[in-house]
Structures are given as C-alpha cells and as structure tokens.
Subunit: 218 residues, 2 copies
C-alpha cells in the first residue's frame, strides 16, 4: 500500500476504533470518518468542529455530546491506533530480537521495515501526529504512556542482552529509540511528504540499519 | 540562550529581515512581529490575518497590501532566516571540513553544535517550520532552493574528499544530509519540545556524531 491512500487509512482507523470500543453507531462512525478526512485535508489546527459536523451531516452539538472537544476527538482516533502500534509491534520486535540467527543489522532492518509499513497504512493519521505531537502535550502524554514507555521497557531488555553478549556498545534505551525513530521518521517524511516519488525502501533501510549497527558496535 | 525565548527570537528574526530588506517602516515591523508571535502561540494554521492585524494594531487590508496572503507573510519571515542559515553555516562547515586535523567524528560534532545553537536562536520560527514544512509545498520549494541545494553541493565536495581519502564509506550527499538532519532535528524536538529539561548537549552530540562517524567508516 502506498502512503497517502486516504480511503484505506480511514477504513484502517475505523477498524482500530471498533476493535477497541465495539461497533460504532452510524452517527459516531460518520463523525470519526469526517474528522479524519478534515484533519488530513486541512490540518488539525485549521479544522473546526463546525466543519466536521457539516461533513458528517450531524449537528455540532452531537460532536460535543459524544466526543467532547476537538482535542478529545483526536485522542479518540489516536488511542486505538496507538494500541495497535504497541502490542503487535512489541510482540514482533521481541520475536525478531529473540532469534539467535541474524545479526543486529538484519534485526534493525526488519523492525524498520515493519514500522514503515505501519506508518504507510495509517499515513494520514501519522501526518496529523507529526504535526501535533510537538505542540500538543495531551497527545504526547497519551503516546508516552501507551507507546513510548512500553517500547523503552522492551528495548531495555533487548539491548541489555545485546550489550551483555558484547555485540553492542552500552547505549541507554531512550537514546537508541530516539535515534532509530528520528532516522525512520526523517526517511518517511522525505519519501511520503517532501519528495514523493520512486524510493528504494530496501536499499534505504539497509543504509540506515547498517549505519546504526556498525555505529553501535563495541 | 535557551530555546523558546520568544522575545530574543523575534528580535533575531527582525534583524534578519532588516539585514535582507533594509530598515522596516514601523507598521511593517509591527506586522512581522505580530505574525511571529501569533504563529508561535497559536500555530500557523490556526492563526488568521485578522488576528495578526489586531495584534499589530493595523487594518487587515494593510497586511494584504504590504505582504499578500498569510502564506506570503510566512515566506517573508523564513527567507532571510534561511539565508542566514545557509551562508554562514556553509562557510563554517567548509572551514571545519578543510582542517586536516580532527577526525570525522569531531567535525560532525562541531557542525551539529553550531546548527543546534542556530535552532535555539530561532526556536519559535524553527517550530513553525517543523509543523509547516511537510504540508506546505511553497515553503519546501523555498528551502529546497535556498538551503538544501547549497548544502548538498557543499557536502558532495566535502564527502567526496573524505571518500577519496578512504576515510568514509561511499554515501550520496542527500542521504548523508537526511540522516544527519533527522538525528539532529529528532534531538532538538526531544530536548526543546517533547521533554524539556536538563539535557547534556555535549554528551548527546558526542553520541550521535560518534555513531555516524563509526557507522560511515569504510
């Protein structure tokens, strides 16, 4: 799937919300769909609850009653997607790191490939997060609790093992995560937003994973 | 200077604009100052030209007459600051890379330290750029022409020399720039926006520069 496919991303987000909250009533479903489309097209900050209500074909009061503020609505979209990011992502990363065969470079490359596919799947929401995360403390708090905390606990164990085996320079998990995530997000932004076109994901990931693995060797 | 010092950043942006355009008439100066304050506090997307006019104490028509649209106004702030980023930054980077003493790690660390100080100086504008750059093709075009193109031409030469001397794995300049910039921006976001607090810049830069230099060794 190519990043930016709005229809599929809307379906993916709705599926994540329904997996978490159960089947949505038609009006609620319409509001969530309209909110994601408006945020994706106009940006979160420039979208009003009035325009979401108009697009969803409901009264603005319906939004406030069922979802609270615009900020609450954003969190309502993000929470279930974050849950889908963290749980399968952690299970998968644990499997990758638990394998004895495969060097660190190959393990990092596999993690990167999986996260890139995830970002493509939820591209419009990822874009909103990239814009809002640095300036939205509530959103940052939510992701800190539901994603970053879990990732760091996992990486502490996985990296601790690599460090103990002498395959990795001692590096604190939060720094490793920051550097890995920055590189991957920078690549995703370049490829899907700044200069969309033909990118060779496999070669680019090999470059980044190789750099990280060699750079972190003892 | 700590990032986020709005008053000093406004003064720095105004100085950059006046260095490029000559002394500003009081009304124009007031509009630029008000625009930067509004963008920094409310975000670019959520700021209206009406609110800028109100804060500057001018009629909204004055903004349109002198500056065009809100997008034009943003470019008017960014252009001179980008010019200040590129020229002294390139001269300095050329000096750093031309020195024969000092290994690649130390050179990268010095470049990172200088760029971090620049980002701190213009922090509110950098924040606006980080939010707008991925979704604003005009802004991206401007930076592509005025900053990224020049940086890549310079890096082509500097890296070519390091590669020819056998001190660096062959890496295309755009990829090197993307990885370096992603790491540095990721660190700047963590330190000044996501988790402000006590950060040891020297240690963090040493970690990133060491990782890059080791990772890029032949």
């Amino acid at each position: 799937m190519k990043p930016g496919d709005l229809t599929e991303a809307v379906a993916a987000v709705l599926a994540a919300v329904e997996a978490a909250e159960g089947r949505l009533a038609p009006k609620k479903r319409a509001v969530i769909e309209a909110a994601l489309l408006c945020f994706a097209e106009t940006g979160y900050a420039a979208t009003s609850t009035r325009s979401i209500a108009h697009r969803a074909g409901v009264a603005e009061a319906t939004i406030f009653r069922h979802f609270g503020t615009k900020a609450d609505l954003l969190l309502r979209l993000v929470r279930p997607v974050a849950a889908r990011l963290i749980q399968p992502g952690l299970v998968e990363a644990q499997e990758i790191f638990a394998e004895t065969e495969g060097n660190l470079e190959a393990k990092i490359a596999r993690m990167m490939t999986a996260r890139l596919a995830f970002a493509d799947r939820y591209a419009p929401l990822v874009r909103i997060l990239l814009q809002e995360l640095p300036v939205n403390p509530e959103l940052h708090g939510l992701l800190q609790d539901s994603v970053i905390g879990g990732l760091i606990r996992f990486l502490d164990i996985a990296l601790g093992e690599e460090i103990a085996q002498g395959r990795l320079r001692p590096i604190p998990a939060p720094r490793f995560l920051r550097i890995l995530a920055s590189m991957l997000i920078g690549y995703w932004i370049a490829r899907s937003m700044v200069a969309p076109g033909e990118w060779d994901d496999e070669a680019e990931i090999a470059l980044m994973a190789g750099l990280l693995a060699r750079g972190l060797k003892p």
